[in-house]
Symmetry: C2
Subunit: 224 residues, 2 copies
């Protein structure tokens, strides 16, 4: 069995990633940019929420986004409609972003010019959990259509996140979404975790969610 | 950068997996059991479709299921309601099933006694693609709520699968699901792939899908 050796090599990759992530975090803090990463299952609505977020924040803040996918530039094109600077990172067959990809994507951007930088990870509830990207805040999204048990089934990703966002609230009734069960499952895995309910489609819950981002960032224009 | 070494070690793990998967496949063929694996994003409805499948097939066939998850035995308990033998495989932090886990889970089962064995993989659109489990048929599921672009964004998993199943058709109208776009995206990635549309909730499309399974297995009770 080569499994133990594989695990060891993975640990080395992670260690390198952690060092680089730490350097990125220092750079972000010095630049005064607040960095928010987003993780979720594919199809949970990360891009829809991010597009709405960029559009709603732009009048008050300088916002930008990096977006990771295995293939296609679709998300970057979609997000560009918000008018914010957006860059696609394609990972090939890799199921997560790594700090080195973030560093490379930022090479020709001056992060001093941003108040908020969003990083949308590859859609995956497993791989991204162990890769620090230097972010200040990690959001984990789950849509009402996925089932209330996701936190119990993917505890590591919920544990590695700071805030949970329940998306596609406009479909809650159609799928008989059980908010109490979902909330309890999140709290069982990550006690005290703040949870927001939003619909990027109808705008439900967006103000509260954006105000919380402003509070967390210590940037008060959104917190009013 | 230790990346090339990591890739090499991964290749060795895969090679071991392929050898074991080949042995499993031979054993399955000799036993006359047709093995179907299911891959999809978390929350695409694998367990719901599998429960419906087991329930509908049981009057005609001897069916059983293995179900993979990082944590919890929830799915096995849910599937047990069908009355079919079901076993949970918990993978810890691993984002896919491997052939060795299937072999181990089958240790105290006599596969000769089954006509169909279903293997529900961990919810993930990336990791499971390269791990052969010895199955005869690999289904990739995508729900109407995930967005029509998933095949383009996760081409490898669609390429590694034999049949695509679009799930949660009962929500198609609510999410304005674009069947033509979804179908074209699947065909762009995997030309000629057979695609079914089902709702485990309403039963829509289930007969056609089950008949196709029967045809593929060369077991005609379902193909009538």
């Amino acid at each position: 069995m080569s499994e133990p050796r594989l695990v060891e090599v993975r640990k080395n990759v992670l260690k390198q990633n952690d060092l680089l992530a730490r350097a990125l975090r220092t750079r972000f803090h010095e630049s005064g940019v607040f960095v928010v990463s987003m993780v979720s299952s594919p199809g949970s609505g990360k891009t829809a929420l991010l597009e709405k977020t960029l559009t709603m924040m732009r009048p008050s803040y300088r916002v930008a986004a990096l977006v990771g996918d295995l293939a296609t530039e679709n998300d970057a094109m979609r997000l560009a409609r918000s008018g914010a600077p957006v860059k696609q990172i394609t990972t090939g067959t890799l199921c997560h972003l790594e700090a080195v990809m973030v560093e490379k994507a930022l090479e020709d951007w001056n992060v001093d010019e941003f108040d908020f930088l969003f990083i949308e990870n590859v859609g995956n509830l497993v791989c991204p959990s162990s890769y620090d990207l230097g972010e200040d805040l990690r959001l984990v999204l789950m849509s009402v259509t996925e089932g209330e048990d996701k936190p119990l089934k993917y505890p590591t990703i919920f544990n590695s996140a700071d805030v949970a966002v329940v998306t596609k609230m406009d479909l809650a009734e159609a799928v008989e979404f059980d908010w109490t069960a979902a909330y309890q499952n999140i709290q069982a895995v990550r006690p005290g975790m703040e949870v927001f309910r939003v619909s990027a489609k109808t705008g439900e819950g967006m103000n509260e969610y954006l105000q919380a981002l402003g509070r967390r960032a210590g940037k008060t224009a959104l917190a009013q």
